[in-house]
């Protein structure tokens, strides 16, 4: 049996044109998907039972025991941390936020270590963005700044930019120009009309130089800026100003470099300058398939998009203080629940040392690096393949994720609801 138009639960592109071939409740073929999504749909090997550490060894336990132990750990904690959320659906994230409020926890998502600076910049100067459909149909110039779509979002170019047919673009191969800005000559850079190779940490300078040229003050620019020649900057600024509709996409090369949110702010302000002359938009290349969704859910429920601390009984948001890395670096949490992410593989060493030193619980289908840091792991259904629900694409468009396989594994949402119920029972019994 073939199921068509299945959204892919890998990256923020949320490609919703995937065909999946099923035989005996197994996926035997995938069409239209990139290498990354393909590997996820066809992935084999998962944790079969909940596991718990006893006397320095892993033992298999029942779901009841694992949920009891998780509820006890979270109930006993003075400063619980609930982290992850980007690899699950909005319906499960809602339960997570309720849980955080109920136990006075700090809740944060993988946003904190990807596009948190983009959100800070947007909160400062706004977001002249648009949907990917607008880019596909209108953009005659696309700028990829500090991102590498061919490796991180492999179908971004074919679905929305360089190779995509557009309603107002006669010939996408000749009428759509591409500029890539990166510290290395990535695969994307090799097919760009202009590749700007900037020195590490030089994005802010190059953005400022382009702003000056667009403003008509190219005379103040030195011959070379962060390794980029002035003549190239002038050429690129001309390309941008001559475009009918330009779209900037930026990635972690901008958000993680020196300057952080100030880099993104500068990029947004370059786009504002360009909008005095033509039409330009700017958007973040969001990573996990539903990292954007967590920002939506937390904003509806608590008023802020990430890093919300409920310990005061109200929603308190102060990035740099209530962000997960700062919290762990200060060694504040005395318990941690990880859902649908893998901080063991993606957090700096000093922060995961603290996670290993406190009772940490993980809800995830697979054994991963975080497993080693945990006291308990509860395996669940794979969201977007074995569980349906709502996810948000990188441009904020909600897409219904499908369930294509039957499974006996419970969903993230079911496990979280059982944990909340168990905590309430424990508290009502004193």
């Amino acid at each position: 049996m073939d199921i068509k138009d299945v959204p892919c639960p890998f990256c923020g592109c949320l490609c919703d044109d995937i065909s999946v071939r099923l035989e005996d409740n197994r996926i035997t073929g995938v069409e239209n998907c990139c290498t990354l999504g393909n590997a996820k749909f066809l992935s084999k090997g998962r944790l079969q039972h909940p596991i718990m550490r006893r006397d320095g060894k892993w033992v298999e336990v029942t779901y009841e025991e694992a949920i009891d132990e998780t509820a006890r750990i979270l109930s006993d904690a003075m400063r619980p941390l609930l982290y992850g959320w980007s690899g699950t659906i909005g319906e499960a994230q809602v339960v997570g936020v309720h849980l955080a409020e109920e136990i006075g926890a700090l809740i944060d998502s993988t946003t904190s270590v990807c596009h948190n600076p983009s959100i800070l910049a947007i909160q400062e100067v706004g977001h002249p963005g648009c949907t990917l459909g607008q880019v596909k149909n209108r953009a005659d110039l696309v700028v990829y700044w500090g991102c590498n779509p061919i490796e991180a979002h492999p179908r971004h170019m074919s679905r929305y930019t360089t190779y995509a047919d557009g309603y107002f673009i006669d010939n996408t191969a000749t009428d759509r120009k591409v500029i890539v800005v990166d510290i290395r000559r990535s695969e994307g850079a090799k097919i760009a009309d202009e590749f700007i190779q900037v020195k590490p940490g030089g994005d802010y300078l190059v953005l400022s130089a382009l702003r000056a040229i667009v403003r008509g003050r190219g005379d103040v620019i030195p011959d070379s800026v962060a390794g980029v020649k002035k003549v190239q900057l002038q050429r690129v600024a001309d390309l941008m100003m001559k475009a009918k509709f330009g779209a900037v996409f930026f990635g972690l090369g901008v958000t993680m470099s020196r300057g952080k949110y100030k880099n993104v702010r500068n990029a947004i302000e370059l786009v504002s300058e360009l909008n005095r002359k033509t039409k330009f938009t700017i958007s973040a290349m969001r990573g996990h398939f539903n990292v954007y969704g967590f920002n939506e859910v937390l904003t509806w429920m608590a008023g802020y998009p990430f890093a919300v601390d409920f310990s005061r009984g109200i929603a308190f948001y102060n990035p740099g203080e209530t962000t997960v890395i700062d919290l762990l670096e200060r060694k504040e949490p005395d318990a941690c629940l990880v859902v649908a992410s893998d901080p063991g593989a993606h957090f700096p060493k000093s922060t995961i040392e603290h996670m290993a030193a406190i009772p940490t619980v993980q809800i995830d289908p697979c054994v991963n690096a975080t497993t080693a840091l945990c006291q308990v792991q509860i395996p669940v259904a794979i969201t977007g393949i074995e569980a349906a629900g709502t996810a948000y694409r990188m441009d904020g468009v909600p897409i219904r994720m499908k369930k294509v396989l039957e499974t006996e594994f419970p969903t993230d949402q079911e496990i979280l609801e059982r944990i909340v119920t168990r905590i309430r029972e424990m508290r009502s019994h004193g």
């Binding site: 600076p117 590498n148 957090f347 060493k349 080693a372």
Partner: protein, 129 residues
């Protein structure tokens, strides 16, 4: 020799993301990309191992040459190996410096650790099937 190290996504890293304990993931995330001229100056060939040390830690990685990167810069896929040398200071932004980390690189014959080894160094316990 001193370099500026940045981490980021690669297709092999992403392909093995559901299998982080596999040899494929280990290979994909413990490879350090370096310009051939820099590798020559280190007296090494592509595939030789190096000790990479920052202010925050040290890890053994395998070299892979590429001319796509400038001299003086090195690149690694994001993951536990990159994080073994990444600091937790965020400049009050919440975001650590995952890019442009100053590292010292020297040749070594030491083996590349496994992901489980790295997790046990920080106090974790490997899970055996």
């Amino acid at each position: 020799m001193r370099f500026a190290l940045s981490s980021g996504r690669t297709v092999p890293q992403g392909s093995f993301i559901e299998h982080k304990l596999s040899k494929g993931y280990q290979r994909a995330t413990s490879m350090i990309y370096i310009h051939p001229l820099d590798l020559m100056e280190l007296g090494l060939e592509s595939g030789d191992r190096v000790h990479v040390t920052s202010d925050f830690g040290s890890v053994v990685l395998t070299t892979e040459t590429t001319e796509d990167i400038q001299t003086g810069c090195v690149y690694i896929a994001l993951g536990p190996y990159a994080n073994a040398i990444t600091g937790g200071y965020t400049h009050a932004t919440g975001m650590p410096d995952y890019k442009d980390i100053t590292v010292e690189i020297e040749p070594t014959d030491d083996p590349v650790p496994t992901v489980w080894d790295l997790m046990e160094i920080v106090g974790g316990l490997r899970y055996g099937h």
